[in-house]
């Protein structure tokens, strides 16, 4: 306790000094307070290992945030890996104060336990405020050997085999899509990563696969040029009202609901469609989020939004981080706040339906 008080005391006195200095120096702009983050440092909790997707994401954009957040705070990082990201999330939920000095990066892995009602995931994402959001997309493709040349062929295609990691991870989205489109496709799960699943595709062990858009551009587009893969559809992105639209990274490809319309001649509906609508955004459209505790001072969010607006016009930032951000913009959290809140809400009926379905079809035992 003593130390905290001492720290607080020091921070206040330092704050006063800074305030005094800036008032003295500001001269004409008298009355403008020092930026909230002046002289402060921000610790970001990363519930994943070093050099994982989310780790690289935040470490890459952090130097630009340091430059563009008013007051130029210093960033530091803490990886709490393992336990499906739950220990890292809990650390933030329990330890972070609403002062904007401890933030959290999250990814789809952290949302699915909540949506599926995993008891170990005792954190409530709706109590936090999204500062920055970065979407990612996903593209499905088939091998020519599958007999599918265009999406229209999917209705009569036989024996499609998909390689995935786990039915309750990102693979849920393609697996749900198979059900929605009533395809004769079987998921073989247990691969260690999407990269290994793609090797299995190249080997001919599987004949339908998906990759996130950055990996798709780097590893699948060459296969398409060689005639070893045929792109089918994307999982789509969200517009400001939460509707599923074409993915700007692959605008030529139809989305899953578009394919449904083409095959069935009507708008998608039913249980699988409800599931798709709930799970797709948290898997892709709002995949990476930088959070702060909900009751943090408004200056915190405002500082990050200022940085996001500045970066939106920063050419150097855009070319340098293009591949990491997957060709999608770094979005202000408030633009998507409504969508994000919706994304983490699931009705009891859909939750029960998904749990029963993965339990029966993929023998997943959820407790």
């Amino acid at each position: 306790m003593k130390r905290i008080q001492f720290k607080a005391g020091r921070a206040i006195s330092r704050g006063l000094v800074v305030l005094g200095l800036s008032v003295a120096l500001a001269g004409p702009a008298l009355g403008a307070a020092a930026p909230y983050y002046e002289g402060k440092s921000i610790e970001v909790i990363i519930p994943f290992p070093v050099a994982g997707g989310s780790d690289i994401w935040i470490r890459t954009i952090a130097p630009y945030l340091e430059k563009n957040i008013p007051g130029n705070p210093k960033f530091s990082f803490r990886n709490i890996a393992g336990g499906r990201g739950i220990p890292g999330m809990m650390e933030f939920a329990l330890k972070a104060k609403p002062d904007g000095l401890m933030l959290l990066v999250s990814s789809a892995t952290n949302y699915f336990p909540v949506l599926l009602g995993d008891k170990a995931a005792k954190y409530d994402l709706r109590q936090w405020k999204p500062l920055l959001v970065n979407p990612v997309g996903g593209v499905m493709y088939v091998s020519p050997a599958s007999g599918v040349k265009r999406v229209e062929d999917l209705a009569k295609a036989k024996d499609l085999i998909y390689g995935g990691i786990s039915a309750i991870g990102l693979d849920l989205i393609p697996l749900i899509s198979f059900e929605l489109l009533e395809m004769d496709a079987k998921g073989v799960l247990g691969f260690k990563g999407r990269g290994e699943a793609r090797i299995a595709f190249e080997r001919g062990e599987t004949n339908i696969d998906y990759q996130t858009t950055p990996a798709y551009n780097a590893t699948v587009v060459p296969l398409i040029k060689e005639g070893k893969a045929i792109p089918l559809m994307s999982f789509g992105q969200l517009d400001d009202d939460g509707n599923i639209i074409r993915d700007p990274a692959v605008p030529d490809l139809p989305t899953v609901p578009e394919v449904y319309e083409k095959l069935k001649g009507k708008k998608p509906s039913g249980k699988f469609w409800e599931t798709y609508k709930i799970f797709m955004p948290s898997a892709f459209a709002v995949q990476k989020i930088l959070w702060v505790k909900g009751d943090a001072p408004t200056e915190v969010a405002r500082s990050f939004y200022t940085a996001a607006d500045r970066l939106d016009k920063d050419k150097e930032f855009q070319t340098k981080t293009d591949k990491i951000l997957g060709g999608y913009p770094l979005l202000r959290g408030d633009r998507l706040e409504k969508t994000i809140r919706q994304a983490f809400q699931i009705d009891a009926e859909t939750q029960r339906f998904v749990r029963e379905w993965v339990g029966k079809k993929y023998r997943v035992k959820l407790d």
Partner: protein, 643 residues
């Protein structure tokens, strides 16, 4: 292709690049020496610097450090018996007994030389296979990879020493421990007892450090004295060179095994070095000295563990699929520069690939050379009374175990496995099959699962599977024939083939094993479908073997242990309790204070050195630990009493 190679080589004429390479080598060497710290710690330290460099310079720094980690980690494996990283555990088996016999310099120089040659062979092979690597990797489907894993597991049969039954049981226990956590297809959590920590399974670092490191430290402390008696160093290092020259065949085969283990995704460095060790033992005509200090047992795994890293670049760069943790980090760094490894890499970034290859080759040579010249000096460490070295080693091991996942679970697991490892050692249970079983569980189960769910049972008829199956059959026949002909069989040095603790503890331990495997079998019946196959395959034979072993032991006539054994056991338990005490102190007072108190109390109270010396030692220890924490950005929770 060769133009690109030359352009890349030209980079090293730039003093900046050369300096970066040297910096990387130095960082890698130091981190490799520290037990438990490996490639991941290396990168965690270097990462902040990397963000300011261009991609080539950054790769030179990173690869430079990663290339030498598996060279210098041999030092602790050989001298102290605590594996410098998980992959170095195989070197402990023969390297450490050699050190105890006063031949540390010989073991080290042989290890470094074979490590260097292995790395170079790996690099050459990597370069030559660039054009054909993709089809090569694509040739191996899940069923073929499964057969490779099973073949690796069968090598455990060669490592059972003089006690085939205990060895088999140890392997089964390893398999069982490996199946803790969520099953490959996530269908079920096995043996997790609702502990979040156990969901991902126990990390390899904790297992290797516990079963070999902690067990060895306790044993050395209980024995007292130094690791080796002070004898003339002689020309130990020259002898090591001669050994490598004499066994050049092992070096070549070992490095080829290593490259293969690296190229195939999902096998990894640790499995690679164990496979190489297993093959050396399997091919040897005279096996009686393995585990007791056979130089071939050092050369085999050492020539493999560097070439694994070289082989690892193939799946990492050409497929974007990392084979091991260091490669995963490399991949992450490439992403950071906007480079997505994949099939295009060879066309678009060939010079970068060669920068990586050259960095690896040069760093590997410099690092091995550095360690090589250090080895006579390092060998002198074995003359220091071990109790004086112990606090530093214990603190480093705790540090190493904690930093990999920043979870106290790793330290609990390490201490528990340390006790198990010590008991196994005292009771004549070989530990090598245990680790082999543990390491290969995950890939074996994964590929078994994939093979069955993709092909049902048709996979058994694939030509690759049949060829590998025949190889497996030969290997099994070889083992059985060796046993029947009663060929001299390798035994782990420390156990001396015999039970050191007498009959009652021996029977009790076996009975405990029987209870554990029976309980695990009972629990396995509640697992659905494929999730149960692996625990069943491990526990059903284990129950029979444990029962048979129990009957043998009950009927056997074992001499009562001499009185000094009782004293030694008590001492060992005392030291073990002091480690547990250290853990409790960390929980209560935080890492800094606990380290200070533990180091000082251990040196002053238990070892009895002068308080002035103990204070200086303690101060040095604490400042180094805090410096490392700061470098690694490591967050030690505040103690409960001081929060």
């Amino acid at each position: 292709m060769w133009d690109a190679a030359l352009i890349a080589f030209d980079r090293f004429a730039d003093p900046l690049h050369l300096a970066m390479l040297l910096a990387g080598v130095l960082a890698g060497t130091v981190i490799g020496i520290l037990p438990g710290l490996g490639g991941i710690a290396c990168v965690a330290i270097l990462l902040p610097f990397i963000y300011t460099l261009d991609v080539h310079t950054a790769m030179i720094l990173l690869v430079g450090s990663l290339a030498v980690v598996h060279t210098s980690d041999t030092i602790t494996s050989v001298l102290i018996g605590a594996p410098g990283s998980a992959a170095a555990a195989a070197t402990v088996l023969d390297g450490h007994p050699l050190a105890k016999q006063g031949q540390a310099a010989r073991a080290l120089s042989a290890a470094f030389l074979s490590s260097m040659i292995g790395g170079l062979i790996g690099t050459v092979f990597l370069t030559l296979s660039l054009p054909i690597a993709r089809p090569l990797v694509l040739f191996f489907g899940s069923p073929e990879l499964l057969m490779l894993c099973v073949l690796g597991l069968s090598f455990a049969g060669f490592l059972t020493g003089g006690a085939p039954l205990k060895g088999g049981l140890a392997a089964c226990l390893g398999l069982l421990l490996g199946s803790v956590g969520s099953a490959p297809a996530d269908a079920v959590n096995r043996y997790t007892f609702d502990q979040l920590y156990l969901l991902d399974g126990i990390p390899l670092v904790g297992v290797a450090l516990g079963i070999f490191g902690i067990a060895e430290i306790i044993d050395l402390l209980a024995k007292g004295g130094r690791i080796a008696e002070r004898i003339s160093l002689g020309h130990g290092w020259l002898m090591g060179i001669k050994d490598v020259v004499q066994h050049w065949g092992i070096v070549v085969r070992g490095s080829l095994i290593g490259v293969w283990a690296g190229i195939l995704p999902g096998i990894g460095a640790t499995a690679g070095s164990w496979m190489s060790y297993g093959h050396v033992v399997a091919m040897a005509r005279d096996r009686e000295k393995f585990g007791k200090g056979d130089i071939r047992g050092v050369i085999g795994p050492e020539s493999a563990n560097n070439s694994v890293e070289a082989g690892d670049f193939i799946p990492t760069l050409l497929f974007g699929v990392p084979g091991g943790a260091p490669a995963a980090i490399l991949l992450g760094a490439l992403f950071f520069y906007g480079i997505q490894p994949g099939p295009r890499m060879v066309q678009e970034n060939l010079d970068l690939i060669f920068t990586i290859i050259w960095s690896f080759a040069i760093a590997n040579t410099i690092g091995a050379g550095l360690c090589f010249f250090l080895s006579p000096a390092l060998a002198r460490l074995t003359w220091i009374p071990f109790a004086r070295l112990a606090p530093a080693i214990v603190v480093t091991i705790f540090f190493g175990a904690f930093q990999s996942t920043q979870s106290f679970g790793d330290i609990y697991a390490m201490l528990a496995l340390g006790l198990l490892g010590w008991l196994m050692k005292q009771l004549g249970w070989p530990r090598a099959p245990f680790l082999v079983g543990f390491v290969l569980t995950k890939p074996t189960e994964q590929y078994l699962w994939l093979s069955i769910s993709r092909y049902d049972f048709e996979w058994l008829l694939r030509p690759g599977v049949i060829v590998l199956g025949l190889l497996l059959l030969v290997s099994i026949v070889w083992i059985v024939r060796g046993r029947l002909a009663n060929k001299s069989i390798p035994a782990e040095e420390s156990s001396e083939g015999a039970v050191l603790l007498g009959k009652t503890p021996s029977v009790l331990f076996t009975f405990a094993v029987l209870v554990v495997v029976a309980a695990a079998l009972y629990e396995a019946q509640s697992f659905p479908h494929l999730g149960a196959i692996f625990p069943m395959a491990a526990t059903i034979p284990a129950v029979f073997m444990a029962a048979a072993q129990l009957i043998f032991e009950l009927r056997a006539d074992m001499p009562a242990p001499p009185p000094e054994t009782r004293k030694k056991t008590k001492l060992a338990l005392g030291y073990f309790i002091s480690l547990a005490f250290y853990l409790v102190m960390i929980l209560l007072f935080g890492f800094g204070i606990a380290t200070a108190v533990f180091t000082f109390a251990f040196l002053y109270g238990l070892v009895g050195i002068r308080w002035t010396h103990a204070s200086v030692y303690t101060a040095a220890m604490v400042s180094v630990a805090l410096l490392m924490s700061w470098l690694l950005n490591l967050y030690w929770p505040e103690g409960m009493l001081l929060g």
